[in-house]
């Protein structure tokens, strides 16, 4: 099937197999390998990209479903390695990445999160990134990076309130 998709500002008309997942179109057809595959159940979010500005797990989308869309992957986010996008710069500053495998998806999800919540609380960051797994960082520095990218001082954030319960006494 013919699709017209713009990726990182570059439009292309391509003939694709109907079952081709968007993530494989990006990785194998276009050779944009920053976007990774970490699971087969849409659980890990390593494949997250922006589709028309919204963060989407590209392993859950068929390429043909993305016809006519404008997609941004990690490769299209920063102008150059010397000039990082504010989110990418914050990840570096806060050591929000270790092995780097979840990073492209995590960064794109975080960019999408700030689109919706420009000044999130720590809890909102944690809930907002729930669909993206990282095995290295324990999320501590990822959360700090997203707070920093939103213009907030991560050190000024109030003591964490764990999800689920209040820290106060009583019920």
């Amino acid at each position: 099937m013919k699709v017209h998709i713009t990726v990182n500002g570059v439009p292309a008309d391509t003939d694709v197999e109907p079952r081709l997942l968007l993530v494989h179109y990006l990785r194998d057809t276009l050779g944009l390998t920053a976007t990774n595959v970490g699971c087969d159940t849409s659980s890990c979010g390593a494949c997250t990209v922006l589709v028309d500005g919204e963060s989407v797990k590209s392993c859950t989308v068929l390429t043909v479903q993305a016809d006519g869309t404008d997609i941004t992957t990690l490769e299209g986010l920063s102008p150059s390695p010397d000039e990082l996008h504010p989110m990418a710069a914050a990840f570096r500053q806060e050591h929000g990445l270790q092995c780097g495998f979840c990073t492209p998806g995590m960064v794109m999800a975080a960019v999408g999160l700030l689109e919706e919540h420009p000044r999130p609380t720590e809890r909102e960051v944690r809930e907002g990134l729930k669909g993206n797994l990282c095995r290295c960082t324990g999320y501590h520095n990822i959360v700090r990076a997203v707070l920093r990218a939103s213009g907030q001082d991560p050190d000024a954030a109030p003591d964490l309130v764990a999800p689920g319960f209040s820290t106060g006494s009583g019920t």
Partner: protein, 747 residues
């Protein structure tokens, strides 16, 4: 100003953040075939037949291979085990776990592989599964008939336990504890790509923690000289111990590339990974602790029954470490332990972050809390009463290892103070008094671990090139630990050349033929020290050369900002200039000769909803003392990751098999890797007690988090509901388990 101990952001990050890492699956060789493995859906069976006829004629199929086609000898893949416990590269007559490869399908396109694999028809004749460890130990159903037993190895089984061990104890507590099986679950699954060159050499790109050991293993399995194999590890997307060494699939990929004369790519799916990749922990422990009513522990016993999985690998050896670390941070007069390791029809066990030590720590930290409860004492006080004092080091333990240095009580006091221990206890008492639905639990763990064990030596070379750039070669091999930055810092400290001009290379056996890789929290204290020494020697070499150029005595020279200068003058020559006529390169080997013993204390604050059983970690305060810190940003990152995995073991994760050996947690939809939403931020405290075993004074930091946090959180959950009659809850302390424990305790 020294760069040592400063928060240098990573030099490797701009690439990771703009083009992404280059992982094995990203390497697209032209014309490469895609490998899809047909894996056993049954845990234990005889293979009656494998019919590949239909698969062969499927679109895009180039070759379909079964076990009888493979002319590689089945091999014993672990350091211990009966000689008959060997694994074939594709199963021939028998399968021993769900996920064991049975046939290999090679296709032109990736999507064609699973289509064709579905057409392979395997006729399995089911055999009884062996999942339960006690059943395995009874040898009623054998995995390897010729071995005559399922016991892979025993440690300390030669003599019976001392029946007088607990003589003189006023209080003795015993408990059965499960240290459950976990999946390492690196975000990058296993992958390998192989290509034979016209020169008769095989190049293997693969995701591993140690290229050099992988080369030796794969060459051995393929029956070729190591010189004919080049192993390259591109970026590696996490390992956590499960990527130590080679997996049998790596050799199979190389063999298939030879058979077809084409490059072959393999990258497994997550569900394959959750059955095929080495898993960790998997011990059943019986702990017994005894002492006086005033809190002095006199005797401790640890009896381990450990799972090796189907084909014994490194995991079968790890209870050895558990025994070594059994007495932990405590000075206990009488300690004994033993371990039996058995094969089961499940995924093989290997190393997982901590690898034998978290199991030891979890056992004694639970025991310490149960003992404290038994004598109605505060768990912090009981620990203090029994800690090895700071003036006792080096301390020879009842686990027959020598702890290098430690300040255990100081670490515990730091976390107690920072967390406001007395206030927390008061809050807990108030909630109990009120009968709140959300109860507070405070959990402690004091711990010591062994790092840099096993392989004590590592090489490094440092070379300054004309123009002043620097290359560092190291046999350690990062998968997220930031070696490129950290090793550049070490070289920069000596050379005065900025880290941006220093390239650290690793993980290519043609470039770095020797090295033991990154595992066991060993890199800085072995490979890092070697870099430090090579850089120091390079400065001396440069001074000798500069003495001629500058016509000065070596003793009058100093190194400043990447140049050798005559002290007190402007006369200087840049290191890059000194490399123009002759290579300016040094090598160093460092051999510590002994492991180091980092230690610390973790305090977890947990809230438990007694109506639902749900436990939430509110706060975790930790001291992880691994000696002086080279880069706090990186070291803290290691602690964070370990703490998260520790919390995950305590509350969320468990690999589960049903009685027939079917994995019930074979995807990320079923296995509880926590997200950011389930975890708190962490409170890290600093403490740095050096070791005398290397000139930097450093110990390992990579695994501390899993060792301290796991029992701290588990203890906190039990503590939260202890007043309801609960004495112990096995990990993971899921809402159901906690709720059941409360119900049983109250009844």
């Amino acid at each position: 100003m020294s760069i040592m101990g400063t928060r240098v952001v990573r030099t490797e990050d701009p690439a990771f953040l703009t083009r992404g890492g280059t992982y094995t699956a990203d390497i697209a060789l032209p014309g490469a075939l895609h490998l899809t493995l047909v894996r056993s859906p049954v845990a234990h069976a005889r293979i009656a037949s494998v019919d590949v006829a239909e698969a062969r004629s499927a679109p895009g199929v180039v070759d379909v291979v079964t076990g009888t086609d493979v002319d590689l000898e089945p091999v014993r893949m672990g350091p211990v085990g009966h000689a008959a416990m060997v694994r074939p590269f594709l199963a021939t007559d028998r399968v021993r776990f769900v996920g064991e490869p049975v046939a290999a399908v090679l296709t032109e396109q990736a999507y064609e592989g699973p289509d064709a694999a579905e057409l392979v028809i395997v006729d399995y004749y089911p055999l009884p599964a062996v999942v339960d460890l006690q059943a395995a130990a009874r040898d009623e159903v054998l995995l390897f008939d010729e071995a005559g037993t399922n016991t892979v190895v025993g440690f300390g089984l030669e003599k019976p336990f001392d029946e007088h061990l607990f003589d003189g104890c006023d209080a003795v507590v015993t408990a059965e504890i499960v240290n459950q099986r976990l999946a390492a679950a690196p975000l990058e699954t296993r992958a390998a790509t192989a290509q034979w060159g016209d020169d008769g050499r095989l190049t293997l790109w693969c995701s591993t923690q140690n290229a050099q050991a992988t080369r030796a293993e794969v060459a051995g399995w393929l029956g070729i000289e190591t010189a004919r194999l080049r192993v390259i590890t591109p970026d590696v997307g996490g390992g956590f111990g499960a990527k130590i060494g080679a997996d049998p699939e790596f050799a199979l990929v190389g063999w298939l590339a030879q058979r077809t004369g084409r490059a072959v790519r393999w990258s497994e799916s997550r569900s394959e990974n959750m059955t095929g990749m080495l898993q960790g922990r998997a011990q059943r422990q019986t702990v017994t602790i005894g002492g006086t009513r005033d809190g002095r522990v006199l005797a401790y016993r640890l009896d381990i029954l450990a799972d090796a999985g189907a084909y014994p690998r490194l995991g079968a050896f790890l209870p050895y470490f558990t025994r070594s670390m059994a007495p932990a941070v405590y000075d206990i007069a009488r300690v004994e332990s033993r371990a039996r390791v058995v094969a089961t029809t499940t995924t093989s066990i290997g190393a997982y972050r901590g690898a034998g030590r978290p199991e030891a720590t979890a056992a004694i930290e639970r025991a310490m809390d149960m003992f404290a409860t038994e004598i109605a004492a505060d768990p912090a006080e009981v620990r203090k009463r029994n800690l090895i004092p700071p003036d006792a080091f080096p301390f020879r333990t009842k686990g027959r290892v020598t702890y290098d240095s430690g300040e255990y009580a100081k670490a515990l006091d730091l976390v107690l103070d920072a967390a406001g221990y007395a206030g927390l206890r008061a809050e807990q008492a108030a909630r109990r008094e009120r009968g709140d639905a959300v109860q507070l639990g405070i959990g402690l763990a004091t711990f010591v671990e062994i790092t840099g064990g096993g392989a004590f030596a590592e090489d490094a070379s440092v070379e300054v090139h004309p123009g002043g750039t620097v290359t560092v070669l190291t046999g350690t091999s990062p998968h997220g630990q930031g070696h490129a930055t950290a090793w550049a810092m070490l070289a920069s400290e000596h050379l005065g050349i900025p880290i941006e001009m220093i390239t650290v290379r690793h993980g290519d056996t043609d470039l770095v033929p020797r090295g033991a890789g990154t595992m066991g929290s060993r890199s800085l204290q072995t490979g890092g020290v070697a870099v430090d020494q090579a850089a120091a020697e390079l400065v001396e070499l440069a001074k000798q050369r500069a003495a001629d150029v500058l016509e000065a005595a070596v003793g009058d020279l100093e190194l400043v900002g990447g140049a050798v200068r005559v002290r007190g003058t402007d006369a200087s020559v840049a290191l890059g200039r000194l490399a123009e006529t002759e290579r300016l390169r040094t090598e160093a080997t460092f051999d510590s000769g002994a492991p180091t013993f980092p230690f610390g204390a973790h305090l977890a604050v947990v809230e438990v909803d007694v109506e639902s059983g749900k436990a939430v970690v509110n706060k975790i305060v930790t001291v992880d003392d691994a000696g002086p810190v080279l880069n706090p940003l990186i070291a803290e990152g290691q602690r964070h990751g370990g703490i998260a995995q520790g919390i995950a073991q305590a509350l969320f994760e468990e690999v589960v098999f049903d009685p027939d050996g079917n994995p019930l947690t074979a995807s990320f939809a079923d296995y509880g890797v926590p997200s950011a939403a389930e975890l708190p931020s962490f409170t890290l405290l600093d403490m740095a007690t050096p070791t005398h075993l290397n000139p930097l004074g450093v110990k390992g930091i990579g695994e501390a988090g899993t060792i301290g946090a796991t029992p701290a959180v588990q203890n906190a959950v039990v503590d939260a509901v202890a007043h309801l009659g609960v004495r112990h809850i096995d990990m993971p302390a899921t809402p159901l388990r906690v709720w059941e424990a409360i119900r049983a305790g109250s009844s």
